[in-house]
Symmetry: D2
Subunit: 310 residues, 4 copies
């Protein structure tokens, strides 16, 4: 029996399309789960080797369901990310004309990406949220709704046809997915990597968050995502999901994480993994004074000072 990857199903969604871009997916059994939570639980229980779930998109930002699952519970680690450009097709049963459409369905996450299109083309349509875009397509197949927004690839699976393709309110609409497993050694650094952490502040005072971010800034590390999430301790209490450029095996990132660990109430390391937005070698150079070479030279110098050899 091959190792399996859990993914946010059902089949025929953007998630599955993104997952299949990973070479390692070809050798695994890919199993759809009904929710991000159940897919991640499958990893936690050992039922699946890894789970593949959306974590950020260009319209909604950080996907809170996924972030909240990574923030809490048994620790998990991100090993890979995939970026997928998102455009929607309007799927209907063959023969349906635009003017026939009274109800349309899709996952709520699709709504902000098709809102303007709907306003312009189907201003009076009734929207029904579905558990997934694929589910919406199924419900159209079953005749419950007139049309669904989904990936064009879903048309064939549900015997539908695409009345319109390439629908996307926002240019450059993309979704970022991550492959998540149980904690193990991070992927090797490629030179263009990203590190994800969750930070809980020790206390709340003017400058507290500024000082956390200073641990990154003073070591020349750029932030790629900062998403606050409620801690569960009541309104106004937040932890911070942060993605930053670099790999935990980079000296500057390791020292940054040490600094955060010291000044935060808690830090959860979510992984270091290759960036999907640029190729290795395309990362901008580290600012002066923050390369591994400079860190090692500095550590060596301090060691020599401690020994009186300088």
């Amino acid at each position: 029996m091959p190792a399996s990857y859990a993914y946010l199903g059902p089949e025929g969604t953007f998630t599955e399309v993104a997952l299949r871009t990973l070479p390692e997916a070809a050798t695994r059994e890919l199993i759809p789960y009904v929710s991000v939570q159940s897919a991640l639980d499958a990893v936690r229980t050992g039922e699946a080797e890894a789970a593949f779930v959306p974590i950020e998109n260009s319209v909604e930002g950080g996907i809170t369901t996924t972030l909240d699952e990574l923030v809490a519970g048994e620790p998990l680690t991100i090993y890979r990310e995939v970026l997928l450009s998102i455009t929607f097709a309007l799927l209907v049963r063959p023969g349906t004309a635009l003017t026939d459409i009274k109800t349309v369905s899709a996952h709520p996450a699709a709504q902000p990406q098709v809102r303007n299109w709907l306003r312009n083309h189907l201003p009076d349509v009734h929207w029904e949220s579905a558990a997934s875009n694929a589910d919406a397509a199924r419900l159209v197949q079953e005749g419950r709704y007139d049309a669904a927004f989904a990936g064009e690839f879903a048309a064939a699976r549900y015997g539908l046809e695409a009345l319109e393709t390439g629908i996307h309110d926002a240019e450059n609409a993309q979704t970022r997915f991550v492959l998540v497993g149980r904690p193990a050694r991070p992927a090797a650094p490629t030179g263009a990597d990203k590190t994800s952490v969750v930070l809980w502040q020790r206390d709340d005072h003017p400058g507290a968050l500024r000082d956390l971010l200073g641990e990154f800034a003073s070591r020349g590390i750029n932030l790629m995502l900062l998403q606050s999430r409620p801690t569960g301790a009541g309104i106004g209490n937040y932890c911070f999901c942060i993605d930053a450029e670099g790999h935990i095996s980079d000296r500057r990132m390791a020292e940054t994480l040490m600094g955060l660990k010291r000044i935060c109430l808690q830090v959860r390391f979510l992984g270091s993994y290759p960036r999907a937005d640029i190729a290795p070698g395309e990362a901008r150079p580290t600012p002066a004074g923050t390369s591994d070479t400079e860190f090692m030279a500095a550590a060596d110098w301090v060691a020599r000072c401690q020994d009186g050899r300088f």
Copy 2:
């Protein structure tokens, strides 16, 4: 015809309950709208004097639909906030027993607050998302689903009964609502106020966000919310919705806003308004060197230096 307040409907939701805690609501016509967007549009078009919508809760954090509407489009201003403690009742048609429940419905926002309760009491139930908790109650009334999570106050309206009350996964579950109108002079300072802004960074470099937050920190201003929202320019591009302690008529806040205006690509002022979490007079004292008195004394001193009178 009285002036009207738009609010996120339908009737019988937590939003309506929260709105009715505002004294000024008693003298307005309260009109439910189907979405945050439509309620805010009613203000923008002049159809309503103000709109009342949820903006943050202790489980989901910032409510992105509302934030995104305030971030974009014609500027609006927040004049009031209301905090409401949230607990759910499980509403059923009279005679239904717990063991009869196969399907349950509520707004997706309710899900994280009832998840554990469901796991413990109805592990096999099928969840159906509804447009609102009140809508879920209506669908139960109509027989479409077996049970709905909603505020206990909704039972009477829909002829249901509460099989269980006080359901809330998270202790201290609260939702924060805001009363939003067209731009005008902010509410007068009370001594315990909050200022909301949206910041767009000029460019992205290590330390950019740290420096933005430094404008607050160096003037002793505490942050209450920092929520990143996509700018629409593609994945990884964010603006920041920030709530901070203090009123724009406070010198330290005015100078902070000036600093942000200078270093940001764009700043949108969303309002200064009384805090709902503490009473006037309960706000913590301003740190040394940041009171209005000290700001005025410093300005006066600089003016005297400029004049050679010191």
Copy 3:
């Protein structure tokens, strides 16, 4: 009787040479004083309109006697600065050969600038400190010492000849002088100005000095001098004499001074005056977000927000 300028005498020193480069010196009586203290006291008592004294040189740094006089006592203001390149001549009575020289004299401040020259050319000579270089020349004239280091211009006055000229251990040896008067309106901004202040910290804690400097840094202001001086409250207690680029009439400098005034125990404004090292128009441009235009636009925007007109 013309107004007089006091200067650090005696006649025939670099100070007098520097003072005579000021156009306004041509119309004043120039009166030498025996010490910086007495020259400044002459201003304080009204005996002199202004005093001209050295304040910094490239070998010794800030001249502590002058700084301490400006730091304490009745406030004074700097109106002008002059930079003078310093090289020494070795002055002897006519007929003296290098090999005849057993004793050499000069003001102690000359010593670091001629130390290497002495080591190489007169390794066994005996050094005698004098109250000024001109005084050393006078003592050579009187036959008390064999040679004096002084400006070449002093040779004629004391009937000496220069055995060697252009002596200076450090390349680019320069001394900076200031014209100091009673407090009045600062010189008008030229576009290339400098502001001098003295700062006393409110308390001493990790980051206290960093935060003071942050008031300059966050407004894009470069520092030109930071000289700590004892406060008199015991060893380890310092105030800070700071020169920074810009004029108190610049918005960014005015706001910086306000910030310092608020967070410091005490701030003494020592003046804004034209820089002598560069011409007006040669100053580097202000960093993005810190020009007067941007400050005024930001203030205007905040005022409009306060009024509800945005």
Copy 4:
């Protein structure tokens, strides 16, 4: 032949008194040198094991001759410091009355500490600088001057008597001396230590110095001295002599030094040594997050993350 300590002579100065407070001085030959430079050169050439020189006093601040010698040339290391309270006696030949005194002599460093006393008691006296206070006493003995300011202990040596003792303009006048040797392993940490370094900035831009100080501040390290010294590259070019609380073997200090080494053009380590102002055990506790225990726990945590064991 015992190892020798060089010290700033001549005999009978405060320096010798301070040196004799060190237990190890009892077993060394103590050799006076005519200047700080020559005493330190004796260490550099191996002629002396160590040199004992003044480095800071409560009236003049950092003693620039000493700092400049430590900043440049062959590296030296500070191993000990001594604090000595300074008060002067007015020494005269037996029989001299206050009214007989026409000339008074002392080292220029004494002048600011006796200035007010002179103004009040001998307003018309003529001041003559001497190479040292002891030298001034000798010149009084020889009849060249009428009185000298020196330590009371110098009276016996030169056959003088103290006409007045306890003279000191500033309360709490103290001088700090250091014992300097060739580089070797620093003194063991005592729990109340000080580290001295010299920093040269990589380039000069707004915030450059603030960022250097940020390396200390972000790790909770308090500064005890910041003295700028000219680099020799022309007026306005400074390096910074810094004394900071803590020992190079403290994790937070080691990491601070590493950070400085990375971002500075050059760092010179001048030593870690016990503080003379407080006893071991009296140092204030390290701020939260900066103890050795917390640094080690953080390093251990990062190592575990790197290994996938968390």
